[in-house]
């Protein structure tokens, strides 16, 4: 419902946010019709739920963290341990759920830091322009001159391997994508005539940013964050797999796979189940993100 003044005319200030809200509700309608995206959404919700309530949903919550029970080590999947036990005797299923906790935390922290920062810097670059813009975009180019994983590896080189340093490394790269995205949108809107018109009418810069630019960024950013979540988890798992991320005993899925791979092929369950888990989590985010992109009518390439 569009807001209106006493004459029933739509108030122009709110129209861009209103357009976004409209897009959201239409997007929801379209989204709910797309089976694939619903499946993706369900998967994500399922895994997030499991991770959030890990303590309550796992059969052996005390097996998480530092736990040893060598008597029961290397048990194949059975009724007692659906996914078998690992080299230390801990239940693989439980450790997977707790491991996914770390993966989600990674995604949350990385995106929580890099997205706002990226948006801010992108707005700055796009709106202010001039030397600031050049400087910011050059720095962005430098960070983007290496593939994400490699860059993260290089940054991790500076620290002792640990999960928080990995988060830092990934976060310090990730802002660049959002910066670029927002910068592009800001630049294109800034040159539109209606912006210049509102400046003439006395609108402040902040007003223009909040009223005109941000609503246009909202949809692409939502889609990107969803797809990013999957990708960040992928990169994080890669770092852990190489030994640079989550360290035992607080393993995440990548570390688990790395450890498990040493025992292939006889103790296959130590590798296969964590791999399946991470695949499904990332797939869920991808399906969800793709569906959102469709529903909110954002172009490919985001």
């Amino acid at each position: 419902m569009m807001p209106s003044d006493q004459h029933g005319l739509r108030k122009p200030e709110d129209s861009r946010w209103a357009a976004f809200r409209d897009r959201l509700s239409r997007g929801w309608y379209k989204f709910s019709r797309n089976r694939i995206s619903l499946i993706g959404g369900a998967m994500v919700l399922f895994f997030v739920f499991l991770a959030s309530f890990a303590h309550f949903v796992t059969p052996y919550p005390h097996h998480a963290g530092a736990y040893t029970d060598f008597a029961n080590a290397f048990e194949p999947p059975s009724a007692a341990h659906w996914f078998g036990t690992d080299s230390l005797g801990a239940d693989v299923l439980t450790r997977i759920v707790f491991g996914s906790q770390i993966s989600f935390m990674l995604a949350g922290v990385v995106l929580g830091i890099s997205v706002p920062f990226g948006i801010f810097v992108g707005l700055l670059a796009g709106y202010v322009g001039g030397k600031t813009e050049t400087l910011i975009m050059r720095i962005t180019d430098i960070f983007l001159s290496l593939p994400a994983l490699v860059m993260a590896l290089a940054i991790c080189a500076a620290f002792t391997p640990s999960i928080d340093k990995a988060m830092l490394a990934v976060a310090s790269i990730w802002w660049t994508w959002h910066c670029r995205l927002v910068h592009g949108i800001t630049r294109s809107i800034k040159t539109e005539e209606f912006v210049q018109a509102s400046r003439v009418l006395g609108a402040s810069h902040l007003r223009i940013i909040f009223r005109d630019i941000l609503p246009n960024c909202a949809s692409p950013i939502i889609v990107k964050i969803t797809l990013d979540a999957g990708f960040v988890i992928l990169v994080g798992a890669g770092l852990s797999f190489l030994g640079l991320g989550a360290q035992p005993p607080a393993e995440d899925l990548g570390t688990m796979i790395s450890i498990g791979s040493k025992y292939l092929p006889e103790r296959w369950w130590m590798t296969v189940f964590p791999s399946l888990a991470i695949f499904l989590i990332i797939l869920g985010f991808n399906l969800l993100g793709d569906g959102l992109r469709d529903a909110l009518a954002v172009e490919e390439g985001v």
């Binding site: 720095i139 593939p147 490699v150 290089a154 080189a157 500076a158 797939l283």
Partner: protein
């Protein structure tokens, strides 16, 4: 004329970016906590030995001076000394690079030879089962971590079926061909060493496919989208109207404009392949840059880290430049935009 000017500008800019990259990594690598000298010499080294090593590595000098020494060294081919191997990092890289290069090149081959035809097929049978199959494959390809793909392939083809080897570039019993390029396939072809050729190919199939998985899916999807976009264009209908046969239209008039978006993505695909290589090399114990680089990171061997980073950055940048040139060559509209920029 204008195009070469544009090229020059791009080249200059990328060199600038590489410089920026080197500064960034340099600062990170050298201002880090933890002492690489001690790590290299082990826990029983004396203070004197550590200080000696530090002096040899120039760690006692101020940071900007260290950077300057390093950069000027690069131009002489001196990439600094590795803490681990105590020799010029450039030599180390020359030793490990061909393995990774070969792997990545074969992966790109997979992407082109599988990705493009799959995409064309998906576009041809749009919304029918080949299309849906390709889309599922693409989704899965992007969602699975490359090391998982590697492990699964290893599990199935090496352990279960036993038809392909598990690790390494050559079997223990096979003598490597004479070293010309370091690319085993090329070398064995040149020297006519067919047993080595077969073995090298057998060893490279699984890791290269694992690396290529993501890229195949992306390119297939993009080709599909691009082909179906082009197919609905007016100029295709017009060429039908002029009586040009369908086969010619499909392979010439549709494929050429449709190849632009996949081409641009090829640059990004290459980047993801480089990252994937790091993961997959570990799975298959491939003696490449990954092994060297990761060990360097864990030991804080900063010269080695710098070397690896710069080489990868260079490779990335070169590939992007090639992609830009090719795009400009194929599509005059892009050329125009490039010239105007």
């Amino acid at each position: 004329m204008q195009f070469s000017y544009f090229l020059l500008r791009r080249l200059l800019y990328t060199i600038l970016v590489l410089f920026g990259l080197s500064i960034l990594i340099f600062i990170i690598a050298r201002t880090l906590p933890g002492n690489p000298a001690r790590l290299a010499l082990g826990p029983f080294a004396s203070k004197e030995q550590i200080e000696n090593l530090e002096r040899t590595m120039g760690m006692d000098k101020p940071l900007p001076l260290q950077y300057w020494t390093y950069i000027t060294g690069i131009f002489r081919g001196d990439f600094g000394l590795s803490f681990q191997t105590r020799r010029n990092v450039a030599l180390d890289i020359a030793h490990y690079l061909p393995a990774t290069l070969e792997l990545v090149l074969v992966s790109i081959l997979w992407v082109l030879l599988l990705g493009v035809p799959l995409g064309v097929m998906a576009a041809r049978y749009k919304d029918r089962w080949p299309d849906n199959l390709v889309r599922i494959f693409a989704f899965v390809g992007v969602a699975v971590p490359p090391f998982v793909v590697g492990l699964v392939l290893q599990l199935i083809f090496s352990y279960l079926l036993g038809i392909l080897p598990t690790t390494g570039r050559l079997g223990l019993m096979t003598a490597p061909p004479t070293h010309y390029t370091g690319l085993l396939i090329v070398d064995s072809l040149i020297t006519g060493n067919f047993s080595a050729l077969g073995d090298a190919i057998a060893h490279i199939i699984l890791p290269s496919f694992a690396i290529a998985m993501t890229g195949i899916g992306q390119i297939a999807r993009l080709t599909r989208g691009s082909m179906s976009d082009v197919a609905s264009q007016d100029y295709i209908e017009a060429s039908r109207g002029f009586g040009i046969p369908n086969r010619i239209i499909a392979f010439k008039y549709m494929l050429k404009p449709a190849s632009i978006p996949p081409l641009t993505v090829l640059g990004l695909t290459f980047a993801s392949e480089l990252s994937n290589a790091f993961l997959v090399e570990t799975v298959f114990a491939w003696p490449g840059m990954a092994k060297y680089g990761i060990r360097a990171i864990l030991r804080k061997d900063f010269n080695a880290v710098m070397g690896v980073v710069l080489i990868i950055g260079l490779a990335f940048v070169v590939v992007n430049l090639i992609v830009d040139i090719l795009s400009g060559y194929i599509d005059p509209r892009i050329r125009k935009r490039q010239e105007e920029a």
